[in-house]
């Protein structure tokens, strides 16, 4: 930079001044003023030259300081004569003795770790051939046996014909950086290995779960069907031989076989929820809730339930799954208002920033808030089987569906004053 500036300055200042003065001075050669002017011009030129040198040496000094601060050595290689000159630091970095500071490129190459020589040589050859940049990282085996990592950078300089005649550059010790990088990549590799092994573990667990649910669906159903089937056949074919107590006992067998069957079906439904692929779309919740209410009504046609559906914001989610969640919530609302001669159920919804929230409220038997924490657990029931039928899976299914959508579900209730269940769904991007 400093060189460029002074080169640019010279033709503008000194040489430009002298010819101009010369033209002016020739007719006035005997004139004292001319002599003074000429002397002045010479003085001016010397002054500029001195300043230029001072500046150059100052910038060299600065460069030297900067290189020292960066612990960089410099080198210069005359490619044609194969002669290397390098700074003391550059030589020290390679563990070269002072008398080895100058020499051919082979002196340097001799210090490069044998395993890295080919790579360094290729980088140098490429820079020489292209007249471009050189850069490589390599190991150096110092005379005391230690191994250090070096980074060499440089640039080729070409003659008018485009032939590389010289390369100049820097060298620095990057062992610490290298060590840190290696530690980091070892850490990363270890982390990746652990993630892979955990993933494999999870996949194994998943497959075991799949196999389990397959075997539940297959192998557990058959004996239950056999129990209910043969008990039925016994009841039908031998009715005459059975006294009322025998028939009552058979009825208990049948009832429990059928309950076991429902449990298995519900469990399978729950396990399928986790595997089922989700298809997210925009859903008109007003239409979906109306459909579901209609279905639930048909299941209990004799009931007098006043269902109010507010204007609901649209949802973004899997239609089949959300339908199932709503079916369970509304079926529960119908079920737990059964003691009411005239029951009322209300579905409301609200849009909040980033989410939509839907609430199903009923005026049924409600529940004690001290059990609220158990509401969404599998097989948790807050009412006896005689009061309200069920396997205790319905709300667990709702929770699983809402969680898969990235939402949350909550339940509130008071004994005999009704219950309200709310779930949120993240607002859709589309």
């Amino acid at each position: 930079m400093a060189n460029l500036a002074s080169i640019a300055l010279l033709p503008l200042a000194a040489p430009a001044l002298v010819p101009n003065l010369g033209v002016l001075a020739t007719p006035l050669a005997a004139n004292a003023i001319g002599v003074v002017l000429a002397l002045f011009a010479t003085h001016q030129r010397d002054q500029i030259e001195r300043e230029r040198l001072a500046q150059a040496s100052e910038s060299e000094e600065r460069l030297h300081l900067a290189l020292e601060a960066a612990r960089m050595g410099t080198w210069e290689w005359d490619v044609v004569a194969d002669r290397v000159r390098q700074s003391e630091r550059a030589a020290n970095l390679l563990g070269l003795a002072p008398h080895e500071q100058e020499g051919g490129i082979d002196v340097l190459m001799g210090r490069v770790h044998p395993d890295d020589r080919r790579q360094v040589r290729a980088a140098i050859d490429a820079a020489v051939a292209s007249g471009g940049q050189y850069g490589s990282e390599f190991r150096v085996a110092l005379p005391d046996g230690t191994i250090r990592w070096m980074e060499g950078r440089g640039r080729a300089e070409t003659d008018a014909a485009g032939r590389t005649v010289r390369m100049r550059g820097t060298r620095m010790d990057v062992t610490e950086r290298r060590t840190a990088q290696e530690a980091l990549s070892a850490l990363t590799a270890d982390l990746e290995r652990r993630v892979a092994s955990r993933t494999a573990e999870l996949e194994r667990a998943n497959r075991a779960l799949e196999a389990f649910s397959y075997s539940v669906s297959h192998d557990l159903r058959a004996p239950i069907r056999a129990i209910s089937g043969f008990a039925t056949m016994l009841e039908e074919r031998h009715a005459a031989a059975l006294d009322p107590d025998a028939r009552r006992l058979l009825a208990v067998v049948l009832e429990n076989a059928s309950r076991a069957g429902r449990l298995i079906d519900d469990l399978l439904r729950l396990s399928r929820l986790s595997r089922q692929e989700m298809v997210r779309e925009r859903i008109d919740m007003n239409a979906l809730v109306r459909e579901v209410v209609e279905n639930v009504r048909q299941a209990e046609p004799a009931r007098d339930v006043d269902v109010v559906v507010d204007d609901l914001p649209a949802a973004h989610g899997d239609r089949a799954l959300l339908r199932q969640a709503l079916e369970n919530l509304l079926a529960n609302a119908f079920k737990f208002t059964r003691p009411r001669a005239r029951a009322s159920v209300r579905v409301s919804g609200v849009s909040t920033p980033g989410a939509v929230r839907y609430t199903v409220r009923d005026d049924g038997v409600g529940f004690d808030m001290k059990y609220a924490g158990k509401l969404f657990d599998v097989f948790q029931r807050l009412h006896g089987e005689r009061e309200f039928e069920g396997t205790g899976v319905g709300l667990a299914i709702v929770a699983r569906i809402v969680e898969r959508h990235g939402g949350t579900v909550t339940g509130e209730g008071r004994v005999d004053e009704g219950a309200s269940f709310a779930f949120t769904l993240p607002a859709g991007s589309s």
Partner: protein, 143 residues
């Protein structure tokens, strides 16, 4: 030709429940039970113990379980449906599995129906009776 029915079922209890459910179907049809996939193929294709027998003309329905000893139900289905002389025999899968992959594979291989065995006997009996009455009484078989 007397018409027949084949039940491929390794679970003896289920086989008896099927027999019981079908006993009420008005047309009384001889019912054979094959307890594994190989026996089923022998019966349908006229091989082994059933060599020389032409079942293709008399079989009106095969009720096929999937999880079977020796030869899996889907392989039984594949072989019957890819054999020229037997491919028109109606085969309804009657199984405990409602796995999507099983249902899809069965239809791809040419199953004429897929029924998941209800756990509760009463529902099971209704389902089997409907199957029997549809395929043995309502449906017109291939000539």
């Amino acid at each position: 030709v007397t018409i027949e029915l084949l039940v491929v079922e390794d679970n003896a209890a289920d086989a008896e429940l099927i027999r019981h459910a079908l006993a009420r179907v008005p047309i009384s049809v001889p019912l054979h039970v094959a307890a594994d996939g190989e026996e089923a193929l022998d019966f349908v294709l006229g091989r082994g113990a059933w060599a020389g027998r032409d079942a293709a003309r008399s079989l009106r329905l095969v009720l096929l379980d999937l999880k079977l000893p020796k030869v899996h139900g889907l392989d039984v289905l594949r072989e019957i449906k890819s054999t020229e002389s037997t491919r028109t025999i109606p085969i309804v899968v009657l199984t405990s599995s409602r796995h999507e992959s099983d249902v899809e594979a069965a239809y791809r291989l040419g199953a004429n129906g897929y029924v998941v065995k209800p756990v509760e006997f009463e529902e099971f009996r209704v389902a089997v009776r409907q199957l029997g009455s549809y395929w043995l009484e309502v449906n017109e078989p291939a000539p």
